[in-house]
């Protein structure tokens, strides 16, 4: 029988993998991809709660609606982030985060 906790553990796994990618990857593009993974993990959780939470029928869709907003915002974020990365690449010739260390002492 499929239960909420299945989706939640999947969500936790995807989130942790995404977190690892964010922390461990050098390339800004890969960092962004990892962030997409984390956002999807959140979506899985939201959809799971919407489907399984013991709530009245009309509020059951809220999980999906929140997920729609998350997708929207992540699309916007992705577009801007890639624009910044392109700009960065043009001006500095690299998208490696360890070469972008101007913000330091």
């Amino acid at each position: 029988m499929l239960e909420l906790v299945h989706l939640q553990v999947l969500s936790a796994a995807l989130f942790s993998i995404g977190l690892y990618g964010v922390l461990a990857r050098r390339s800004a593009v890969l960092v962004l991809i990892s962030i997409e993974l984390m956002l999807n993990a959140v979506n899985v959780n939201l959809i799971g709660l919407g489907a399984f939470a013991d709530r009245p029928a009309e509020s059951r869709v809220f999980g999906q609606i929140l997920a729609i907003f998350v997708i929207t915002i992540s699309a916007a974020e992705l577009g801007l982030a890639f624009a910044i990365i392109l700009k960065l690449f043009r001006s500095r010739g690299s998208v490696n985060t360890d070469e972008l260390n101007l913000m330091k002492w």
Binding site: R25, V31, L100, N101, K104
Partner: protein
């Protein structure tokens, strides 16, 4: 006729102050008519209050101001009894006359409206002081009086000496004011009330322990000493002559300097209850009377002679209080106020027309300014104690009070010496001032106004000083004459004329003091001494046949001592230069080394070192920051879970 309207007396001039300060520039003559109208209104209120008191007797009116729950109630209140009403009338009347006088005297001043505004503020504060029914309100008015005095003395603040004099007056009286405030608080702690009647009844029922009472009384008396220019806090009064002459007449003759005397008179039952306080007051008063009179002997600046004379007479008033006679003190206050105000206004008129402040250089006054001169002479003789002028009776009453009181015969002897001294300086003043030729004796350099005085009108020029002075305009003359007449005839108040009025002293103390009577031998002795002293000054200055001329050389050191103001100012200057400045330097050093270097800069240094150490956390690597973020979130989550 309702005595509860008395609060209007201070309220009207206070309103005038704000009106002039805020709207004066759009009012005719800078708003001065508003001030005069307000003071006249205050005088009308006095008349109403007086009639109300005569018909209904003494009363008190107060409304609640605010209350500290279970601690104290603060009120705005007036107390209407003979003491306060007499003072109210004196203040309102003298203030009104002096404002009329100033209308003419000050007309060429740039800050004409400001002068009247501050004048109104001062009058309002003074009337609030005499009417106050509780010590807090009284203290409030007391400080406002000090402020008004500061602003008036420093009216010509462009002149350095005037600004310095104002500062000196303020700081010197402040020394006393601090004592007054602490004394009031001590009394409050002991009795739980600020109300004057409440404090008095608490003291009379012995709710206050004797040491507490004594200390608070000494401190309160310190306040009175400051305001009433008692030795050793008298030094501000002569310097305060830097202010305009009408100001001197108002503040330094009739009102502010009387505040200290009034304070002691108002709280007299408490002072009476203290042990050894009254003799202390008497000693201070006697010392002040002697020192003031002696210093008046050597002054050459007209207003300074009058100032030291005022110091001396304030000493007499304190002496009377110390002898236990409120009636004598208040009577002398009244007589002195009228006479001294007339003298100051007269001095102003003389200066006005001769452009001189040095008594030795003024000539021809008797010929040119006959009315003013007569008024001046009458007032001066009144203060010297020539019958039947008011000063004669009031001085007599003080001597009688010393005789009847608990003070020893030593006090009487020294009081008589002070009386002789005042006759001497009066005689010197009159003969030098009104002789037909200028006195320019040896040591003329000093005469060029080393002391300054009220030179603001014009630096004396040789040509002008010999021109025949002319009578002052009517607006100047009228107040002088009125005050001189009052100063002359006020002695009539001393006697009990009708059944219900058994003499001023008995009336004002609500029967506490006995009626006035004449002790023939004492009166005769005092009069004889005064007459001899006056005769001696006549022989010294006019007839030139001075049998005591040989004594001049002997007395030269004493004269020098007096000319140097008995070194009071020197000692104070030394204290300020050495003690105060040294203390300030120590405090400054502590402030710089500890508060500033360690306390303020230390924080900056700490932050700088902390920043220098922690800046290495800023690697500039985005993934490091992300790791920090993740660890932080992890930490928060764990903590939250553990706590929940």
């Amino acid at each position: 006729m309702n005595a509860s309207l008395a609060f209007l007396a201070p309220a009207l001039p206070a309103c005038a102050f704000f009106v002039i300060v805020l709207f004066g520039r759009w009012l005719p003559r800078g708003g001065a008519p508003v001030a005069i109208a307000a003071t006249a209104g205050a005088f009308v209120v006095f008349v109403i209050t007086l009639l109300g008191m005569l018909s209904d007797g003494a009363s008190a009116h107060s409304i609640r101001w605010f209350e500290v729950q279970g601690q104290a109630t603060f009120t705005w209140g007036t107390v209407i009894d003979p003491l306060s009403v007499v003072m109210l009338g004196l203040v309102a009347f003298v203030a009104l006359l002096i404002q009329v006088y100033s209308w003419s005297y000050m007309r060429e001043e740039r800050r004409f409206g400001w002068y009247f505004a501050v004048h109104s503020l001062f009058a309002a504060a003074m009337m609030a002081l005499v009417l106050a029914d509780n010590l807090i309100l009284m203290y409030l008015a007391w400080e406002l009086v000090g402020l008004g005095s500061y602003l008036l003395i420093g009216y010509w603040w462009e002149k350095r000496s005037a600004a310095e004099a104002a500062k000196k007056a303020f700081v010197t009286t402040r020394i006393g004011d601090v004592g007054l405030l602490i004394g009031i608080i001590l009394l409050f702690k002991a009795t739980g009330t600020f109300s004057i009647s409440g404090v008095i009844s608490a003291v009379e029922t012995s709710q206050v322990t004797q040491p507490t009472l004594n200390w608070s009384l000494i401190l309160i008396f310190l306040g009175a000493m400051g305001k009433s220019a008692q030795v050793p806090l008298h030094v501000w009064l002569p310097d305060a002559m830097e202010g305009p002459t009408p100001v001197s007449a108002l503040i330094h003759a009739a009102t502010m300097v009387a505040a200290g005397v009034y304070l002691v008179a108002r709280l007299f039952p408490i002072f009476d209850a203290g042990s050894g306080i009254l003799p202390m007051i008497a000693v201070v008063g006697l010392l002040t009377a002697l020192v003031g009179a002696a210093m008046a002997l050597v002054q050459t600046d007209l207003k300074r002679v009058l100032a030291y004379s005022t110091v001396s007479h304030l000493g007499f008033m304190m002496l009377a209080l110390g002898a236990g006679s409120v009636g004598a003190a208040m009577f002398h206050l009244l007589a002195h106020a009228f006479a001294k105000a007339a003298l100051f206004l007269g001095a102003g008129a003389f200066t006005h027309s001769t452009h001189q402040t040095d008594i030795r250089r003024m000539t021809g006054l008797l010929r040119g300014m006959r009315l003013t001169s007569i008024a001046f002479i009458a007032s001066a003789l009144s203060l010297a104690g020539i019958p039947p002028l008011a000063g004669f009776f009031s001085k007599d009453e003080i001597l009688l009070a010393i005789l009847d009181g608990h003070l020893g015969v030593v006090f009487l002897v020294f009081a008589l010496i002070a009386v002789v001294l005042s006759a001497l300086y009066t005689g010197r003043l009159l003969f030098v001032l009104f002789s037909s030729r200028p006195f320019v004796p040896e040591g003329d350099k000093a005469a060029r106004g080393r002391e300054g005085g009220a030179k603001a009108h014009a630096e004396p020029t040789p040509g002008e000083s010999h021109a025949v002075p002319h009578e002052a305009p009517l607006l100047l003359l009228l107040p002088i004459l009125i005050l001189a007449v009052l100063g002359a005839v006020a002695g009539l108040l001393a006697f009990g004329w009708t059944g219900s009025y058994s003499g001023f002293g008995a009336y004002i103390t609500l029967g506490h003091d006995k009626g006035f009577h004449i002790e023939p031998w004492l009166t005769a002795l005092a009069f004889l001494l005064v007459a001899v002293a006056l005769l001696q000054t006549w022989r010294s200055y006019i007839s030139q046949s001075d049998p005591l001329r040989s004594a001049t050389a002997v007395l030269a050191p004493a004269r020098r001592l007096l000319e140097r103001k008995l070194y009071f100012d020197t000692v104070y200057q030394w204290i300020v230069d050495r003690v105060v400045v040294t203390a300030a330097q120590v405090v400054g050093l502590v402030d710089r080394a500890v508060v500033n270097d360690k306390g303020i800069e230390g924080q900056g240094i700490l932050v700088r070192y902390a920043g220098a150490a922690m800046r290495y956390l800023q690697t500039g690597m985005v993934y490091n920051y992300a790791l920090g973020l993740a660890l932080g979130a992890f930490f928060v989550a764990v903590v939250w879970w553990i706590l929940s």
